[in-house]
């Protein structure tokens, strides 16, 4: 039984490397693709690597990566949230509306977090205690949020945001703040998922809910917790989104939820739950931003972006299935 598994006499470091590769394959693949993409596009059009463009790629899309962290946790727990784009739209509008009405800036920044956590606590309760599948709950939420937003604002844009409010335009050492948020939150979330009891509980629930329950884990509470954390990340994403341009279009960023879900999946989260990391989802979010930009710099129609995203999802899911089969 053990013979095919016992790799013949590898030295310890090599074996450790092999284990790391096996465990983190998807992250490394995404990282390699990013490197290759940058190299190739830079050769075709060197302006791709200009400061302005790099800022756009990394900073302009940091909110996607931040939202994808929360999404990753939700998917690892065996659930999904298809309403996150609408949620971010609503939270950004709340934040901007408070700002133009002269509320203290700190309130404008914290309100989306609190509201995001509250809304998703409600979603979590419906999923965990009422036992409605998360896809159904969040599909409903998607319509409620989107419809509510359009009715409430009549599609009006929010202008004249106070300069202090513009968190995402703030720079430290010349680097825009969203990049700090993206990097710091990714690292914190990665460490937390790996080392905290709750993080490990999320993996267990997604991997085998019955076994987790039998092991004495309070699954319902944990799932509500996961959704609340997801709401927190959506809140931060909304603030970054609201504060990066001079206006907030009170609409939902088109297809944002799909981009966020795609980032999680391409980053190595199994759509079946139980495996994946936030490092992978952040890398994948960066990859998408870079692809979008690369299409422009190589004069390919931006409409291809969606198609490329779709192909990436299919490719990753195929790779995931192949890997599962091998591990079985």
């Amino acid at each position: 039984m053990t013979s095919p598994l016992a790799t013949p006499r590898l030295t310890a470091p090599v074996r450790r490397l092999a284990t790391t590769l096996e465990a983190n394959g998807q992250e490394l693949v995404v990282f390699a693709v990013i490197v290759v993409l940058f190299a190739v596009v830079a050769m075709i059009n060197p302006r791709f690597l200009s400061d302005t463009n790099l800022t756009t790629i990394f900073s302009g899309n940091a909110y996607v990566a931040v939202a994808a962290i929360g999404m990753t946790l939700v998917i690892i727990s065996g659930n999904i949230d298809v309403s996150v784009g609408s949620l971010i739209g609503v939270l950004a509008t709340i934040s901007g509306t408070l700002a133009v009405n002269g509320y203290p800036i700190i309130i404008c920044w914290l309100a989306p977090l609190v509201v995001g956590i509250a809304i998703n606590a409600f979603v979590g309760v419906l999923v965990a205690y009422v036992r409605i599948p998360s896809i159904v709950v969040t599909l409903g939420m998607l319509s409620v949020l989107k419809g509510g937003l359009i009715s409430a604002t009549a599609g009006a844009w929010i202008n004249d945001l106070p300069p202090d409010f513009m968190l995402a335009q703030f720079r430290l050492f010349g680097i825009p703040s969203p990049i700090y948020f993206m990097v710091a939150l990714t690292i914190l979330a990665a460490l937390w998922m790996r080392h905290s009891g709750f993080g490990r509980t999320i993996y267990a629930i997604g991997g085998n809910p019955d076994a987790a329950r039998v092991a004495g884990i309070r699954i319902e509470r944990s799932i509500v917790g996961v959704f609340m954390i997801h709401g927190f990340f959506a809140g931060i994403a909304a603030v970054l989104f609201a504060t990066q341009l001079q206006v907030i279009q009170s609409t939902v960023p088109p297809n944002l939820e799909l981009t966020v879900i795609t980032a999680s999946v391409v980053g190595g989260v199994s759509i079946l739950g139980g495996t994946g990391t936030v490092i992978g989802s952040t890398l994948a979010a960066i990859l998408f931003a870079a692809i979008g930009s690369a299409l422009i710099f190589t004069n390919v129609s931006a409409y291809w972006l969606r198609a490329v995203q779709g192909l990436l999802i299919l490719a990753t899911v195929l790779a995931d299935m192949a890997r599962r089969r091998r591990l079985r």
Partner: protein, 505 residues
């Protein structure tokens, strides 16, 4: 008369594990041939070989005198061998008629489906099985298990099956349905079909079978006409060996009562259970599938919290409403199905072993990786888990080693009561002995162990006391000395005595 199917000298191994050794066996037309043996005796493997799911390593299969080789279940079906599996393979969204003719539906001359012929054919087949009450236009998903089984049998007949294999067809049925099914089987026999009938229910076997073949540990023990055997002689053929030699039960001093149940019920599946578990004692629960053994364990562990009665720990009444509270009272549960309830297979041994005590290993929310790693390495050593290391994924381990991981996980919670449901199901003989030794050692350290097992020798060999369950209630209790295979086996099936007469009529 030439047998419908004859197998001779069939052998089969999985890896190093020999599951069938030189089995010879035949079924005549119009005969019900019962196949008996404990779990793991090789019945399922033999069935799978005859129905083409598995290929034998050696030996040959003859169908009506011709040597055949089945590459797939499809081949077997084409030669007239149909199997009615425990988990029925029907399509719930299709009607009865559609299910019966799925894959070989009658066509009109325009090559479209001939619905009329299909419905009429299904009707005729069901009528021939005395199943006039089944509507051929009902969706199968709306039918009871018993009715689905009859659809499955009609399906076999529609393919002109000459041999029908039935794998524990009555295991999931209530008595009335089971009795009906038996009359359907008799109808099949009258039509000249050969039937291989696997069942643990002795009364059924005596009511139905013409001949009985017993397997034990993958070996052929004997084929006898039903008139030449008794229940007792069949049990001893199945069990065979001397139990005391196989199970190294260490006698330990029995201490205080830790857990006591007083008239505990759960809905109508667990009825007024009263029992005491004492420190250092192994209590075995014997019973047939569906007798309420696992349900009792689930109730003690709070998965299906008791709806009546009282559970006491150290003499104090407690409310156990979830696995988490059960755990906090020092109860551990090694579940019946490792894959479904025991393991997080995509995770490592380390992560699985610490799962039930994550909150204890965490300081300020952060899991203490050093203590966790130490726990994993200690468990690997203590339970003899054969793995590359603590970081190996659990899904890569063999069944026996997976079971040791589940056991290690629960022992890490430092329980006082350990419930083990089918502790050695599906694992090889060597690993079984190791699990038994561990169980004995744990009892020796003062744990109260409650063991549920479908393997009579295991129950008899490991238990200080044996409880027998039937219909959700405890119907008999034996001390180690009194617990003989005959006595326990009789208690398990006792409903049987007059049921035999009833079924035979």
């Amino acid at each position: 008369m030439m047998p419908v199917v004859e197998v001779s000298n069939i052998s089969k191994s999985f890896g190093n594990l020999r599951v069938l050794k030189d089995i010879s066996f035949d079924v005549r037309p119009g005969e019900v041939h019962a196949l008996l043996g404990e779990n793991g005796a090789g019945k399922s493997t033999l069935i799978k070989i005859i129905s083409g799911v598995l290929q034998p390593d050696g030996g040959e299969i003859k169908v009506e005198g011709d040597v055949v080789r089945f590459a797939s279940p499809r081949d077997a079906r084409h030669t007239g061998i149909a199997t009615v599996y425990q988990e029925l393979l029907l399509f719930p969204e299709l009607t009865v008629a559609e299910n019966v003719y799925l894959g070989h539906a009658p066509r009109t001359k325009w090559r479209t489906l001939d619905w009329q012929a299909m419905r009429a054919g299904a009707r005729a087949l069901l009528d021939s099985l005395d199943s006039h009450d089944l509507d051929v236009d009902t969706k199968v998903g709306l039918l009871s298990v018993a009715n689905r089984q009859r659809v499955e049998i009609a399906k076999a007949l529609s393919q002109d099956a000459r041999l029908v294999i039935m794998d524990e067809p009555t295991a999931a049925l209530a008595d009335a349905d089971a009795k009906r099914l038996l009359s359907v089987v008799r109808r099949l026999r009258e039509r000249g079909v050969g039937i291989v009938y696997v069942s643990h229910r002795m009364p059924e076997i005596f009511a139905l079978a013409d001949r009985v073949t017993v397997l034990r540990d993958g070996a052929f023990i004997g084929t006898k006409p039903i008139g030449e055997v008794t229940e007792a002689s069949l049990v001893s053929m199945m069990v065979g060996r001397s139990i005391d030699q196989l199970f190294p039960k260490v006698a330990t001093a029995v201490g205080e009562t830790i857990l006591e149940m007083k008239n505990v019920s759960y809905r109508n599946v667990v009825n007024n259970i009263s029992l005491k578990l004492r420190a250092g004692e192994i209590v075995g629960i014997a019973g047939l599938i569906g007798s309420g053994r696992t349900e009792t364990a689930l109730t003690i562990f709070g998965i299906t919290p008791a709806t009546g009665g009282e559970i006491l720990i150290d003499g104090k009444p407690v409310t156990i409403d979830s696995p988490a509270t059960a755990r906090s009272h020092g109860i551990a549960y090694v579940p019946e199905d490792r894959g479904l309830q025991g393991l997080i297979k995509p995770q490592t041994i380390r992560e699985n072993v610490s799962l039930a005590i994550l909150d204890r290993l965490a300081k300020l929310l952060v899991v203490d990786r050093r203590r966790e790693g130490a726990l994993a390495r200690e468990s690997i050593a203590r339970f003899g888990i054969r793995a590359r290391g603590a970081e190996q994924l659990v899904r890569q381990l063999s069944g026996g080693n997976q079971q040791k991981v589940v056991l290690a996980k629960w022992i890490a919670t430092e329980p006082r009561v350990l419930i083990m449901d089918e502790p050695t199901r599906g694992i090889d003989v060597g690993a079984k002995a190791e699990i038994h030794a561990l169980m004995s050692k744990l009892a020796g350290q003062g744990l109260a162990v409650l063991m549920i097992s479908s393997e009579l020798p295991e129950v008899l060999g490991m238990s200080d006391r044996v409880l027998v369950m039937r219909g959700g209630a405890i119907v008999a209790e034996f001390d180690r000395a009194e617990a003989t295979p005959d006595a326990v086996g009789a208690a398990m099936t006792a409903a049987g005595k007059h049921a035999v007469a009833e079924l035979a009529s």
